[in-house]
């Protein structure tokens, strides 16, 4: 008995941090996803000159919780002809893969479940790609035409863009020289420049491919409402449906985090090595203070007392976050001897802030695209993938390789490496555009002869 307790204690001593991270993620992520949905609806409303959710809580702030409760108590329907077991397992598989992929990600120097996983980014990409099984199985199991079509489309789309995304990652890895997530971010710190600047074409390719992989508009063909009702989710209802939803948004967070880690400097502050820009450290607490102040300002305008209290609570929360962010920056001024002791807290807290900030910016871009660009047709989507993005990414890998040789020949470091990589990016873009124009000419020649197949997919 004692030996068992001792073993447990030893185990906890070794793994308390990853375990805590895991519990926090599983507990908090559904809530975060709910609020991402709320932000998306609010943004959509703003861009369409509406108000969006306003009823539940002040400015609809409690809407996600109401939605979750609604989904929990909804009637559960499994179609007669469905394959019951697969129907049960498919959403679980989807959400499991999406959540498990987070294990490899680092939301800051300390906040990581699988500490120092040496295949880091490969693990994340590999596990998150497994989510497609959940979609295909769910679509097949529901035995509905819409579901099957959506699942097939989804798999074809994911498979097509996986290659382009993989090539873009290879491009980033050329600069990093490692797969370990912490080392990738550290490499961007020591080189002083984010890989997004060094490999802009790869970043662009990854951006487009990640939108397609998460089935987001303008590439949301698998769940195109006007064509396929809801795609692979058509027959799913209640909490099963919300598991799919959770998986989709978690996947968005995962691709945004991968892009942030590899191309946007992870948890590094912008220009982390530039001494005179150190005032940027005051930005996060000031931002949170600003939000808190705004909430207090809006408080008297709320119609009922409960809503006023809630607004005040939100302001208080923002103030606490601001204080936590300000403490590691301001404490060394008060007591210079604390500088060393505070350093890891500074790295952890501010690193986390910048990482979340960058991921949010990436997600905001996703949403912005969704409300701006109309949906693609399926053959257009496939053409974009196979005729443009894949050749572009392959050419890009090669020219970046050449640029690295040139850079090493002239001994270019940090920002100076841009002198070699920018022409490379231009060469890659011109080459891919040339391929595209040849392709389009060929298309125009064929257009007169071939009959359109409206039932193609």
């Amino acid at each position: 008995m004692q030996a068992a307790t001792q073993a447990t204690l030893d185990f906890l001593k070794l793994y308390w941090a990853p375990l805590l991270c895991g519990v926090v993620i599983v507990a908090v992520l559904p809530l975060i996803v709910g609020y991402i949905v709320l932000v998306e609806r609010k943004l959509m409303a703003d861009m369409q000159a509406r108000l969006g959710p306003m009823r539940v809580g002040p400015h609809g702030l409690l809407q996600p919780i109401a939605d979750a409760v609604k989904l929990l108590i909804k009637e559960d329907i499994i179609p007669d002809d469905a394959d019951k077991l697969v129907f049960w397992l498919a959403p679980v598989f989807s959400v499991g893969a999406a959540l498990l992929a987070i294990a490899g990600l680092a939301f800051g120097p300390a906040f990581q479940i699988a500490q120092d996983l040496n295949i880091g980014i490969l693990f994340v990409v590999g596990i998150s790609a497994l989510g497609i099984f959940g979609i295909v199985l769910g679509g097949w199991a529901s035995n509905s035409h819409y579901s099957l079509m959506g699942a097939l489309r989804s798999s074809a789309q994911l498979v097509s863009y996986e290659t382009a995304a993989g090539m873009a990652l290879v491009c980033g890895l050329l600069f990093a020289g490692t797969l370990n997530i912490k080392s990738i971010v550290a490499a961007q710190g020591t080189q002083g420049v984010w890989f997004g600047f060094l490999a802009p074409v790869a970043f662009f390719t990854y951006l487009v491919a990640s939108i397609a992989e998460t089935n987001r508009a303008p590439f949301d063909l698998p769940e195109a409402e006007s064509e396929l009702v809801a795609g692979y989710m058509t027959e799913f209802s209640g909490f099963r449906w919300s598991l799919y939803f959770l998986a989709e948004y978690t996947n968005m967070i995962v691709v945004a985090s991968v892009a942030t880690t590899l191309f946007l400097g992870g948890w590094l502050r912008p220009f982390a090595n530039v001494r005179w820009l150190n005032f940027l450290d005051y930005l996060p607490p000031l931002l949170m203070m600003g939000i808190a102040g705004y909430c207090v300002l809006r408080m008297p305008k709320q119609p009922t007392r409960v809503q006023q209290m809630f607004m005040l609570a939100v302001a208080g929360l923002c103030l606490v976050v601001a204080m936590v962010l300000a403490a590691p920056v301001l404490l060394p001024f008060v007591k210079p001897s604390l500088k060393e002791a505070v350093a890891p807290f500074y790295a952890g807290i501010h690193g986390g802030f910048w990482f979340i900030f960058k991921v949010s910016a990436y997600l905001y871009f996703f949403m912005w695209l969704r409300f701006t660009i109309p949906r693609y047709r399926f053959d257009q989507l496939m053409r974009l993938g196979w005729h443009f993005l894949i050749p572009l990414s392959i050419i890009n890998v090669l020219v970046v390789g050449v640029a690295l040789i040139v850079g090493s020949y002239f001994n270019l470091q940090g920002w100076a490496l841009l002198l070699a990589t920018t022409p490379a990016a231009i060469v890659a873009l011109v080459a891919a555009l040339a391929i595209l124009s040849i392709d389009q000419k060929k298309q125009a020649r064929q257009a007169g002869t071939a009959a359109t197949d409206f039932y193609a997919g």
Binding site: D76, V95, G166, V170, R240, L398, S408, A456
Partner: protein, 124 residues
């Protein structure tokens, strides 16, 4: 050295537990459903569904899947090359590393061109 994958395994158990627990909780909370009319039939815009959904579908999906295998394996081979490339460049062997990858990519490029000519990359 602590095992790197042990936390992942424990986290995987947590991840599986999450949907299991919520699904069971939902089962306890929600009202029992009643089967009325065609409620349990697949949705097809309000009319009775036309036959079984598991029919044959377009061969293009199979072609895409096959091409994916080729190109994804290519990416897999590129990743170790990309990791080691900086070291090779630093050792002034960059051109050797690049040309060896060029040969590999060249073979695949011929395949890509052939697929392109055959029209395998066309959807409609």
């Amino acid at each position: 050295m602590p095992n790197q994958y042990l936390p992942v395994l424990i986290y995987a158990a947590l991840v599986i537990a999450f949907p299991a627990v919520t699904l069971i909780a939902a089962k306890l909370i929600r009202p029992t459903s009643t089967n009325v009319g065609a409620k349990l039939k697949p949705y097809e815009c309000g009319i009775p569904p036309e036959g079984d959904a598991r029919r044959r579908y377009s061969v293009r999906f199979y072609i895409i899947a096959m091409m994916f295998v080729i190109f994804d394996v290519e990416t897999m081979f590129l990743i170790p090359w990309a990791i080691l490339y900086k070291g090779w460049v630093a050792a002034h062997m960059g051109l050797f590393a690049l040309t060896s990858m060029l040969v590999f990519l060249g073979i695949l490029l011929v395949g890509y061109l052939w697929l392109y000519k055959k029209g395998a990359l066309e959807w409609a």
